[in-house]
Symmetry: C2
Subunit: 714 residues, 2 copies
């Protein structure tokens, strides 16, 4: 439903613009000129208080004077004049709007109020709008460009959604110089109404958009983003740059689109859970988007490198290796076919390095064809295709030796029809990225880009773009997500929480926390809570030595640091001593927990965190003393499916710890996944629970045991 | 001394070239044209078998016909014709040569032989040469360009050394489009004689070269590189891209310059030890080099961001934060000064975000001046300066509203004198990097670049370049390196090694290894070696419980995995049981080590590795079961100074483990540094020792104890 309204907003037949005049240096004028001159076939109605004609179009003094209610109204006037005229459009029945005007939420409290008034008007008249504080939209399907910058390029297949107007408008020329074209683009601004998720959902269904790039400073509805993106990524790649996870990035974002900074690791987890590829620069957001939007789906990670220079060939190999691709040695028989085409001393095992080649077609056509046909690689990175760019560069030196020959003559003589060879990736269904130090001044760069083969200005970038295709293949290869069904609350667990709440506790003590977890089948050590030395000794005997003895009080949070934990006790004397030591250190009579000692060298953590924006998330990572030092924790929004749990476990950097290592058996992967899945249900079963921390989760034998646990209520 | 010879090679007064003709499409001709047309004031002598005049210059049939022995001879002819004519130059007394010709070591065995012949000839005649298989040199000091590409740009201050010819020659136009100019550049090719270290040493002393970029596929003399680079980096920045550390990168490098692939982590350590900044792409190698070669030294890590667009401002903040810089909130008083210059709703806390600004000078001059003057930031990243680029982009739309006004008129009207404002970094001595989506078509980009202020085509790149200046500041701030003096061998240690050698052992058993280490003061647990259960029990009593009991035999390497290690034994029974269990599992009578049990949760490793190319290196990192999983190990060439040791300890990713954590005290930093320094001496004191592995090095209390040790001889 939300998609259909946004389709209407993106495909107006008539547009009114407020703020355009006959002064070409005004922003409103520039926006209007983009609509007028970039091919839009619908009507444009300038609304202007005094001018009769604006930009050659009949102008109207007010919305009421318009011959019809335009499908879309655009506003590029100072904020203080916006609301009345916005409302006037509502009154005549216009349903869609783009508010370029800035000066709302991003100003702070007074701006928030003003933005709320704008929203109220829209609501009153059933209007949907993009902005305020945005740069407009582009829809190449109907040649509509409402941004401030001319867009005289062809239509592409990359959809762009941006919380920064710059990345939709000011970069248009930058993108054209790199052969990158949008299918559609939306600058969402403050997202008072339409937000990036609405646009994402629409782009997900848009047949002209083959990949979606999203520039994000904050996501206002994390759960909906997850739901929407998760549905799109199994069939269409989504790339996201998130800025604002660092302290200063967050402050910058806050000031300019009125957004709250989010947490970097949580966004990382969100993107992984949703199958979204994360980029860390605007260049990659565009460049990877170009490759994903144009290239055939890659079938594996075997990359062939074809180059006319060793350095770039090595750099491509290095970057591919470092980013999950392999550079297989080509078969003897394939090498035999390639060798006669190359200089005698040139290597062709992969990289195929022609060294300095004057006959380009051998490289870009014959050899590329051979390698693509071979079935030995899944993708190709090509470096060094050049013709007119190189000639133009050397022409000043050779000109006088070629009397009467102009550069134009020379280029014309050298010009070949490249149509077929630049289409090779599509005829063979093998993706290709190209690295070239010559830009669109060169026929090759131009021909590749114009035929949808991305060209990058460095070997490493071409390699990393290829590796991004492989990353997307892994997203396509994810196990199907399974249905999540939340179990019913266990009466004993409800009782534990109610008891704590009735005592106004903010946390459950360790004993209660583990008893609650045990209700849901989490593995915890056998243990008893005692209030006397005699009982402690009796419990220890019953449980069996060695035991651990710890203070157990909901108010005491850092037991180890305070010396309130005694481990590996082997006899009754030591247990009695530990009991009295704990009483002494605590300074007041404190219950003591006697637990079976669980030992194991591998310590993980699993937990539930709560974030204002993300709500409950599951955490998994390295625990124990390594928690902070290794800082290897991944997050997902709770609840999670088994697929998510398995991905979390594999996602930690130190996932090797879960394999057989140093004489220890592999961790029971399914048992660990099970812990995470069930943990993720707890805050849904018990909304009273805010956070859970199982740390350490010790691997005893092959299975995880929650040796300590903390549950925070509220 | 090596420097003075290379200076002569770089500054010839006369050059002979073999391989140039009147065919402009031959490589030799192109090289000659570069010399002739790019401003070289010396003589050029073409040597050609038949032509009388080549490129307008009198040609000579052979070296013997030349009017003088040229200072430098250049060879661009097929490999099979090279040697005789190379020798003929030797005979007439030419001392320096550049061999462009390929077809030597990179071909394999036969090429190696041929290259040896070339070297022999050079040696016989006292000739020094660059190449073979290279692209030549550039020396802007004398306007000499011997590469295949025209170089009609101005002189810069970046020195470039490359094992790939492409990065010196084919990228010239690419670089000029980015405003990057070399002072000098050398393509070293196969390095049969002159290698990157010779050039590095020369550039280190060259006053025209302010920063040095090095593209590396292998370093042929690691120790000399360390010595030479270490001397340069405290006064001149060196940036290196090393390619070949991955399997495929290594293969690619091997095939094209005949080099051996090195190990990525060892190169990392080498660069850190030498104070070299490592880049991971050719773009950064050039781009960071540009910033380091031009900008004033940065004094701290406080960065001011000035932008006219929020997205790029946020992205710059994010990238700075993530790379070691801070974005301080500007003082109230500074904000008060800036606010009146900005639109009312624009934030100025830092980033200073003018939002859409039409009056550029306010941003690029007034505000930049204010922030630089304030003393509140150490560097500035600026985004969005634009004038003619933006106007050209919008001109097609506004043209007809400006009848009679051409684009040229419009640009002329808008043109301002930018000279002063683009010099601001130098007048204030505050470094600046610029991000712009408009390239040199824009006056601003052109003016900045031409005045030595680097402009990058993305906000993140401008930010990362600024962070690289901060990285170099940290290199300048390194403690002074201390003199290393190797102690004399301990007689007991000599005895232990001799005993093992006399028994033809390839390794020392654990007991012997630790005894040897103890000779040099390394902390090891108290322990005894025993051959009977009775002795084991006696030893345990003497040492005191708990003890560890382990098999001790130089042939048994993976004790834990074979169940030959019993830890935490608390009584005589358990010791006796452990002894017999070990005998049973070993299957033969094996000596047993009884050690005081050292416990501690933090386990590191320290060791000596041996690599064919690097020789002995010291290793330090996370040990115990985490060794492989966390894979956090750093290396330095042995021996190391105390400064190196301290840097190694701080360098590991998990260095927080050394601080106070989870109730444990901070590790004794000096004791740990001491272990590494002394360890690094061992292979120099005892060349019979090939490798040492202390793992785990357990932190007991605050101090490291080598609980297990392995020493490999040979």
């Amino acid at each position: 439903m939300s998609v259909s309204f946004f389709h209407s907003l993106m495909t107006p037949k008539s547009i009114a613009i407020v703020g355009a005049s006959n002064n070409p240096m005004k922003m409103g004028t520039m926006h209007a000129l983009s609509i007028l001159k970039d091919g839009f076939q619908g009507k444009l109605y300038p609304v202007h208080p005094s001018e009769k004609i604006v930009l050659g179009q009949k102008a109207y003094a007010s919305p009421g004077d318009l011959p019809e209610a335009p499908d879309l109204a655009m506003f590029v006037l100072p904020a203080q004049h916006l609301l009345p005229i916005f409302e006037a459009f509502g009154q005549i029945g216009t349903k869609y709007a783009i508010v370029i005007t800035a000066g709302f939420k991003e100003l702070g409290p007074e701006g928030i109020q003003e933005e709320q008034r704008l929203k109220n008007i829209a609501k009153r008249y059933g209007m949907r709008f993009v902005g305020p504080n945005c740069m407009g939209i582009i829809n190449q399907e109907i040649s509509l460009n409402t941004t401030v910058m001319p867009l005289r390029g062809k239509s592409g297949s990359l959809g762009m959604i941006s919380q920064s107007g710059t990345y939709v408008a000011q970069t248009i020329l930058y993108l054209q110089k790199r052969g990158i074209y949008f299918s559609k683009a939306v600058s969402v601004g403050n997202e008072a109404d339409v937000n990036i998720i609405d646009v994402l959902e629409y782009f997900g269904d848009d047949e002209h958009t083959k990949a979606i790039s999203v520039y994000i400073e904050t996501i206002r509805d994390i759960r909906r983003f997850l739901a929407v993106a998760s549905k799109i990524t199994p069939r269409k790649p989504v790339i996201a740059q998130y800025v604002g996870g660092t302290e200063a990035g967050g402050r910058a974002g806050l000031s300019h689109t009125g957004s709250m900074a989010g947490n970097n690791s949580l966004y990382d987890g969100l993107f992984k859970q949703a199958g979204v590829i994360r980029a860390h620069s605007i260049e990659d957001l565009y460049g990877w988007g170009f490759a994903l939007a144009t290239q055939p789906r890659i079938r594996g990670n075997r990359i062939g490198i074809i180059t006319n220079s060793g350095g770039p060939g090595s750099a491509i190999a290095d970057a591919c290796d470092a980013n999950g691709c392999r550079i297989p040695v080509l078969s003897k028989s394939l090498q035999e076919k390639i060798k006669p085409l190359m200089p005698s001393h040139a290597p062709c095992a992969n990289p195929v390095d022609l060294t300095f080649a004057m006959n380009m077609a051998v490289m870009t056509d014959t050899i590329t064809n051979l390698v693509m046909q071979s079935g030995e690689v899944d993708g190709i990175v090509l470096h060094g295709a050049m013709s007119s760019g190189f000639m133009s560069a050397v022409f000043p030196h050779v000109a006088e030796m070629l009397p009467g020959l102009t550069l134009e003559d020379m280029l014309k003589q050298a010009a070949r029809d490249l149509t077929k060879e630049v289409r090779l990736p599509f005829t063979h269904n093998i993706p290709m990225t190209v690295s070239a130090f010559f830009d669109r001044d060169d026929y090759y760069t131009e021909a590749y880009e114009d035929n949808g083969v991305p060209v990058y200005d460095s070997p490493e970038k071409a390699a990393r773009a290829m590796c991004t295709l492989v990353r997307y293949k892994k997203i396509l290869d994810r196990k199907p997500d399974t249905c999540i069904s939340i179990p019913a609350p266990e009466p004993n667990a409800v009782q534990i929480i109610n008891d704590a709440l009735s005592r106004h506790q903010k946390t459950l003590d360790e004993y209660a926390a583990k008893k609650l977890l045990a209700c849901y089948g989490f593995p915890v050590p056998e243990e008893q809570i005692v209030n006397s030395s005699v009982d402690a000794v009796a419990s220890a005997k019953k449980i069996g030595f060695p035991v651990a003895v710890k203070a157990c009080d909901p108010e005491i949070l850092h037991k180890t640091e305070q010396g309130l934990v005694h481990l590996n006790l082997n006899n009754t004397d030591d247990v009695a001593k530990a009991f009295s030591d704990i009483q002494r250190r605590a300074g007041f009579p404190v219950p003591v927990l006697v637990s079976r000692m669980v030992s194991g060298k591998r310590e993980f953590l699993a937990g539930i965190t709560h974030d204002g924006q993300f709500g409950h998330c599951v955490a998994f990572g390295v625990g124990g003393i390594f928690t902070e030092a290794v800082n290897d924790i991944v997050y997902r929004l709770a609840p999670i499916s088994r697929r998510d749990a398995e991905e979390m476990i594999s996602d930690i950097k130190t996932s090797k710890l879960l394999g057989p290592c140093r004489g220890m058996p592999a961790v029971d992967f399914q048992a660990m996944a099970d812990v995470l899945v069930r943990l993720s249900f707890i805050p849904l079963i018990h909304p009273e629970i805010r956070e859970i921390d199982m740390n350490p989760l010790i691997i005893s034998g092959e299975r995880p045991v929650a040796v300590d646990a903390l549950i925070i209520l509220g």
